[in-house]
């Protein structure tokens, strides 16, 4: 339908921006503050707790944001056409990535704490487990990932921003001027951007699995220096992508309430539902592929990790909780065609999935580090988590306030190839 947008609609489209209640912004800000306080306080109070929950949230929120961008990249690579707005919202999640990179830096001290004991336990791999080494390779990976993602999004926005500048569609700002250095006219820019995006998307899609694999190996698997599972990396990046999709779904529904169904159609919601169902199955396949092999092999060096989490208190209920919330319920709900078309159902399920995956990170990390009884959960955990939520919220709000949510340039200035038409999207990249 974007094809037959008329020129005068652009203005409307551009102006059309979600009305974000001031309250929301303030709430996010307060949450951030709360988080920072909780974190600093707990560093003195009980550092291991603060660091492990910090790690959990770092993994969760970075993964969420990155997953969104990866979704956009796939959408671009396969030349999908079904939901430009959905894609734009996914791109928006990149706003958190620079923040998350900054948030990784303090984690150095956490890593030092986590791996202080490894050298003794596992001398053969001591050098590999050296906190500095882990931190450096982590930082490099994340840095690369962030740069690629941000530039991918940048080239998607640049033509529109520039166009807006050209037409004086919004008041000028340093950000926009900086973004449109050396503007060459909208058509050229669009063509040019398309090419750049192609490369960057490919870059993102190649880098993401590798970098997130090693994030999983270094920041989760290595916390238990005796356990290993070759699928763990793959499992983790599928899991983060799944969370990214859920995030996109949630945001899409919220925006839809804001804009109405003309911008985000029911068909698009349904497609999102299908994708969620598909990756729900992919995710559970990853969990299962690891579980059945370890269950059958019955080798202590593998089983101890599973047994501790699946049959030992207090972790067992949490692990099963992950399965129920992020796998079982969404599956049953999305079996129905209609459920995929009801916004609030998608919203709820999306949130449920996200909660489940947050819990999953918790269950993966804490039992390896937490040697005292019970599952640590209190003001520290809540505080820091809310802090991250606030951070993520703010960065996304920042995106909404500055950039067009409904892309309108590309359909007009990009000649669509015969084949391009034929390719209905194929987001899984299968």
């Amino acid at each position: 339908m974007e094809e037959n947008l008329l020129l005068e609609d652009w203005q409307k489209n551009w102006v059309l921006r979600p009305s974000i209640p001031r309250g929301l912004v303030w709430t996010f800000a307060i949450l951030v503050g709360f988080g920072v306080v909780a974190f600093l306080a707990s560093l003195i109070w009980d550092p291991i707790r603060s660091w492990q929950i910090y790690l959990i949230n770092f993994l969760f929120w970075s993964g969420l944001a990155q997953g969104g961008v990866v979704f956009a990249a796939i959408y671009h690579v396969v030349g999908a056409k079904w939901g430009p707005t959905v894609k734009r919202l996914a791109e928006g999640m990149a706003a958190f990535l620079p923040v998350s990179f900054v948030l990784f830096l303090p984690l150095y001290f956490g890593v030092r704490m986590f791996f202080s004991h490894v050298r003794e336990i596992n001398p053969n791999r001591g050098a590999w487990f050296d906190p500095r080494f882990i931190f450096v390779r982590g930082a490099l990976g994340l840095g690369l990932m962030t740069v690629l993602s941000v530039f991918f999004v940048y080239y998607s926005l640049r033509p529109e921003v520039g166009f807006a500048q050209e037409r004086k569609l919004r008041q000028d700002s340093w950000l926009f001027r900086w973004m449109t250095e050396g503007w060459k006219g909208v058509e050229a820019e669009t063509q040019h951007g398309e090419v750049r995006m192609g490369f960057l998307a490919a870059g993102v899609l190649l880098a993401y699995p590798m970098i997130y694999t090693f994030m999983a190996f270094d920041l989760i698997m290595a916390l238990d220096p005796f356990w290993y599972s070759s699928l763990f990396g793959g499992y983790f990046f599928i899991s983060t992508f799944y969370s990214g999709l859920a995030g996109v779904a949630v945001i899409t529904v919220l925006i839809r309430w804001n804009f109405g169904s003309s911008v985000i159609t029911t068909a698009q919601l349904q497609d999102l539902g299908k994708l969620l169902l598909g990756f729900n199955l992919t995710y559970v396949a990853m969990v299962w592929a690891q579980y059945i092999v370890i269950w059958y092999g019955n080798l202590p060096e593998e089983t101890h990790f599973i047994i501790l989490r699946v049959w030992e208190m207090p972790w067992a209920p949490l692990s099963w909780g992950v399965l129920v919330t992020s796998v079982l319920i969404p599956f049953l709900v999305f079996l129905s065609q209609r459920a995929k078309q009801v916004p609030w159902i998608i919203l709820l399920v999306g949130i449920l999935i996200l909660a489940g995956l947050w819990l999953e990170r918790y269950v993966l990390v804490v039992p390896s580090l937490w040697k005292r009884g019970g599952a640590p959960f209190g003001w520290i955990e809540v505080g820091i988590t809310l802090g991250f939520l606030g951070g993520a919220g703010l960065s996304f709000v920042f995106f909404l306030q500055n950039f067009p949510v409904v892309p309108f340039i590309r359909p007009l200035f990009l000649p669509v190839s015969e084949q391009g038409k034929k390719v209905v999207e194929n987001p899984s990249g299968a």
């Binding site: 579980y291 059945i292 269950w295 059958y296 019955n298």
Partner: protein, 171 residues
């Protein structure tokens, strides 16, 4: 179904003229029209206002049957002749789940096919006279059940819509 046995078949070279014909006939009050086409097209279904196919129900039932069979088969046989292998429990659910999964798919698939044959009334030995081989090639057919006195009107409606030929046929 209480359909009258006589009727007319219009043969259309174009899809849209078929659709017009359906519209007109419906307006005039003819029901139980039947389109015959070389390809499926959602526009035809839309025009004829047919309900969505109930095959999905068959699939669902098949899957449920399959998984139940899977569980019963694996657990019951293992308990019936309990042999310990590799220290694994007699009822080892994880391996059994794989059998369950496969049977779910198998039964689901079989009943889906069954559902299609049942609903589409296939296989059938006698092809209705209304059928014209070109309906599988490049012509769209429309069968209108009506008795002789309605023939003229129907013929007019069909031809006005663009039928290249109208032939009487019985079911």
């Amino acid at each position: 179904m209480a359909e009258s046995n006589s009727g007319l078949v219009g043969s259309f070279p174009h899809l849209d003229s078929l659709l017009h014909a359906i519209e007109n006939l419906k307006k005039t009050g003819y029901r139980e029209l039947q389109a015959l086409s070389p390809i499926p097209h959602h526009a035809i279904d839309a025009a004829l206002e047919k309900p969505t196919s109930p095959v999905r129900v068959f699939t669902l039932i098949g899957c449920l049957l399959g998984s139940i069979t899977g569980f019963v088969l694996t657990i019951a046989t293992s308990l019936h002749y309990p042999l310990i292998t590799g220290g694994k429990p007699i009822v080892s659910i994880p391996p059994f789940l794989i059998i369950v999964f496969e049977l779910t798919i198998l039964f689901g698939g079989l009943l889906t096919l069954g559902g299609m044959l049942w609903n589409a009334r296939l296989p059938r030995v006698h092809i209705v006279p209304a059928y014209n081989p070109r309906f599988s090639e490049d012509r769209f057919g429309l069968w209108v059940p009506c008795d002789e006195k309605e023939f003229d009107e129907v013929t007019r409606l069909l031809e006005s819509a663009g039928a290249e030929q109208v032939t009487p046929a019985t079911r």
